[in-house]
Symmetry: C2
Amino acid sequence: MADAVIPESHRDLLEAPVVAALSTLGADGLIQTTAVWVVLDGDVIKASILDTRQKYRNMARHPHATVLLLDPANPFRTLEVRGDVTFSDDPGVALMERSVTKYGSSMADFPPPYDHRVVMTLTPRRVVAYG
Amino acid sequence: MADAVIPESHRDLLEAPVVAALSTLGADGLIQTTAVWVVLDGDVIKASILDTRQKYRNMARHPHATVLLLDPANPFRTLEVRGDVTFSDDPGVALMERSVTKYGSSMADFPPPYDHRVVMTLTPRRVVAYG
């Protein structure tokens, strides 16, 4: 499916430290949208999140999410990825560290414990790129 | 309801020309998130949209939406507004013009016809401000 692949033309938005808007569906029918750090891993998007948060509970119930990235240099250039969500452990918090480093922060700012850190993986089902 | 009011501390994000992420729920259970221009009108958020677009159809079916704004100068400072959506006409496309002007553009870039322009009004039900 051509439209389920993140196009080469917009992969830079996921490779640069652009903060993403992550949207999930709440039990009340309202959407929660939060700012998240994301990592491009091949053809999927990953994020280190806490399993104590509403976004986790929302995705555990309704395993779909959407990520929007706006090019900071050109707000008409955007990448939207809608997809299916799965969760996995993060051995050695390797994905978390990759994310923290990508966004120019330090693990010293995120001390242990990491018991509640999980990796969410967003597998694209529909991708819309503008600009 | 205190948490349904946009706090003074974060109204600047809606008064400045910050592009918002607008999320709506599709019939397929996936969320659509797009970049939109928004206008703060008292205690509600308005946007000029086209009634031919998916976001309109999504909100006509499921009259809720969520807007997230990230402070361009500080990505840890965010404003999320979840709420209920209503639609109305835009006589003289006054709201559209207000939006276009706010974001530093010109109506010359958006020539008529305006037959499909409507105003969406997002009435906050839950507001989350960080930073």
